[in-house]
Amino acid sequence: MVFSSLTFLFVFLPVVFAAYFLLPKSFRNYVLLAASVFFYAWGEPVYIILMVLSLLFNYFVGREMEEKDDNPAARKKCLLFALAVNLGLLAVFKYCTFLHLSLPIGISFYTFQALSYVIDLYIGKIRAQKSLTAFALYICMFPQLIAGPIVRYIDVEKQLKNRTVTLASFGSGVRLFLVGLGKKVLLANAVGAVFALITGRAASIATLTAWVGAIAYMLQIYFDFSGYSDMAIGLGRMFGFKFNTNFELPYTAVTITDFWHRWHISLSTWFREYVYIPLGGNRKGVPRQILNLLIVWGLTGIWHGAGLNFLFWGLYYAGFLILEKFVLARFLEKLPALLRHLYALLIVLVGWVFFFSESLSGAFTYLKSMFTVGASGFADALTGSSVFYHWLLWIAAVFACTTAARSLRKRLDKTRRRAWIVNILYLVLFFLCIASLITESYNPFLYFRF
């Protein structure tokens, strides 16, 4: 089941809300857990077994580790075994393509959540969760189960036991959910259609059309993924959870370092906390720091998939992050903000070509279309139609990436006088999304494939 489906919006969600708020508070975790299992089983009736086994495994690991509190060697053995099983499962389903296993939805996300729990437990940052219900809810809570954000146990530990929902927090959750729904349904799907149209003719694309296609994907993946995150965080708020921000206007970044402080924050935080820092981070000299960055970004790349293009994509960013850190930082600081911004956007745009291409060679072929004039010339009929036919969409999409859009929304949300007008605006947004959904084709979220 996806958030942007009529079944979710008009059947699943109302039933869950009714049960959650009408039953006594002590039932709330059970309601959310049952809803989450149903939500996952709707799309993955077989792989629900895998998820349940995974969460049971990590629950028992947690309890065992706590029981062996006074035995560091046993705890270490326990941690290593847990790492092997969790990463082994991920490897089998994600990277052993010769087995022809389809990818269980959300496995990368819930496995990383489980790992954060086990590692933090080993380090001693947290205590083991004794309630199986609370632990199961942490692993498979439906708002963030299948496409993040990756929630660390330490961040929701208290909320799993005790949380409150006020009318204001519920309302703010609804608004954020609607913003996310709008990003996905009205913007991501529309720019995605432009991207599909252009790449459907990948055999020969005019230079400018290739640029339009790459920009369309750049916008699609942002609205698709950040839209999902907004919906997840918004849903969390409606149930009393506070999840951390996952996107912070990434396309306003002025450097690549800045971009990665704003894009998929929960994933970069995870790699920083559980890979980069344990490897020594920047504490063991420059050569080691460079190696650590290469390892982390190589892993970030292949977290997205087994293809060489993903590995290259990760290392591509490692290269720029290393360059910025050791070479470009002083130079970039002297540049006007606009130039720095254009630099960051260009690097990110080229990065997305590696990301959306099916193979490394496909990526280079597409880049060749962007940077050289081929058989189709500099521009063709498709350039004009994809830009001018969708002019309103482009304006709306670019505006929605800016700080101006964020400020406007914040101002609207804070409006006390005539708040009803703001509510009507959100209602209009909702109806526009529904109208679009009714006529929409099958269109899952891009990040489901990870």
Partner: protein, 159 residues
Amino acid sequence: MNNGSRFTTAKYIVTAILVVFVLVMAVSGRESTKSFSEIAQALEARTNSASLQTAASGDLKRLYGLDPADYEGVLLKTAVSGMSAEELLFITLKDKSQLPAVESAINQRLAERSSIFEGYAPEQARLVEDARIITRGRQVFLVISADADNLSRLFLSSL
């Protein structure tokens, strides 16, 4: 038995079940719980459109440049009328490595169909532009139709 060993035992039991689960999935081929013929039959039964006809055996080669013998199964339906862009293609790959070639052939076919119809039948060209391509594991599905949305859902539900 103290608690420590109880949880250790439970952990190993769950690990064993996980291993069995993975093995069963790998052996049974999770992504193809249904065979090509089962999916094709479901599609045939529910796409009994008068405007589509099952293509001749050589048509996959002629239209897409693909050899049907290379794949586990192929279902190709083309428009009865030469004035229509309607088309449905369902292929079960033998191996996922065949996917890029099939996708490229589909894109090529769409580009050709689009350029053919662009001049004199813009509504048909639009259908080509709105074609749905769905890939699920080794199953590849293409549909060019005014009813593409429903046919796509039908395909997904038949998996």
